[in-house]
Symmetry: C2
Subunit: 217 residues, 2 copies
């Protein structure tokens, strides 16, 4: 499948690498086609990956990953223009506010009664936003088995059930077990999925090694 | 031990019942000494429990449980007066904002960059606030073994290490395993422990039966 990955940070390149390994054709999107990190990344592979602007990548992809820093995400998606219309947008981004130092918090307008997932859905009503994978460290997103054979929870939410089903299939291809993927309902589930970061950072500060959250019932 | 339980709702009475069963001497605190729910509760037992005002209960207890609704907690603790000075206050309360309907959110001033646990600590600097147990349904707080033999996580945080140690001992007496109690550090950990409620409500909406969260690592 042709997949766009918007963002050239650790999350974007980790996800793109996994998708390329799985045989998908990936286009990395960034603000400029001459983005050095994007070019450096593309040059690591002999095939199945190219780079372009946000708009070129979004237009290319049948599915689009949003791996842009939370504070820039809506602006970057605006640059993607018509490329994201009617597409599934897998939103992995978190609206981190680093301006106040540690402990990190969430951008005030994008927490509690709102979230980045919802904000993107409101700004792009014809895009099918699916929030997932954002509650863990990037390597764990694409190698869930590195922790307790994948026996931990990955939340998913979004307003479009068909879109969620397609994303679920892609997650399973990546290595997620069906029973580890928990559907929280519509995109307002992003409030909890993003808000857990306040807890995540505190757990991270007192935990050695990789960790994740599991819903026990 | 003499323990005060402030609040006569489901959480307060559930915790008080467990403490009485364990042989502790409990005083239920409420706004008025003639509070009907408090009297009704006390009359269920033939010993080890009395009721009184917030101030009488706080003065009585060596340890105090705050089980008051989040929105009223600081005010109720002000009524407890000098009774809470230099005491350990186990804060189980959540700053739920029900004014906007569902999905429930947190009181805007008490989330993200603040929390009820911190707000109480700021208002009562000579009280040793320890936040714990607030991430689950009340029965699970006192019967952790009802879910996977207690193999799920109870977070604890607070500024005073000695106070946290004492609370940890009480938690173990209640039935919590040492390895299931995770110390998040100082009282700012309340932001995550209270904030997880945004996720909790969404999990609750799609889950049958009792559930909790476990940190996997």
């Amino acid at each position: 499948m042709k997949i766009a990955v918007l963002g050239t940070g650790a999350v974007g390149t980790t996800i793109a690498t996994k998708l390329i390994e799985l045989g998908h054709q990936v286009m990395i999107g960034s603000r400029s086609k001459t983005n050095e990190r994007a070019i450096e990344f593309v040059n690591k592979f002999d095939r199945n990956v190219i780079n372009g602007t946000f708009e070129e990548a979004a237009t290319y992809g049948e599915i689009i990953f949003n791996c842009i820093k939370g504070e820039y995400a809506v602006n970057a998606l605006q640059q993607a223009g018509s490329g994201i219309i009617n597409k599934i947008l897998i939103d992995v981004s978190i609206p981190v506010d680093t301006s106040k130092g540690t402990p990190f918090s969430l951008i005030p307008e994008l927490c509690n009664t709102n979230s980045l997932g919802e904000e993107i859905q409101k700004n792009f009503p014809n895009t099918k936003v699916v929030k997932t994978l954002n509650t863990m460290w990037s390597t764990l997103m694409v190698v869930p088995s590195m922790l307790k054979d994948g026996d931990h929870t990955n939340f998913i939410c979004g307003n479009d059930d068909e879109a969620k089903s397609k994303v679920r299939e892609l997650l399973k291809e990546i290595g997620w077990k069906e029973e580890s993927i928990m559907d929280l309902g519509d995109i307002t589930g992003s409030r909890g999925a993003e808000g857990i970061l306040l807890l995540w950072w505190k757990i991270w500060a007192v935990t050695i090694g990789t960790f994740s959250i599991k819903v026990i019932n």
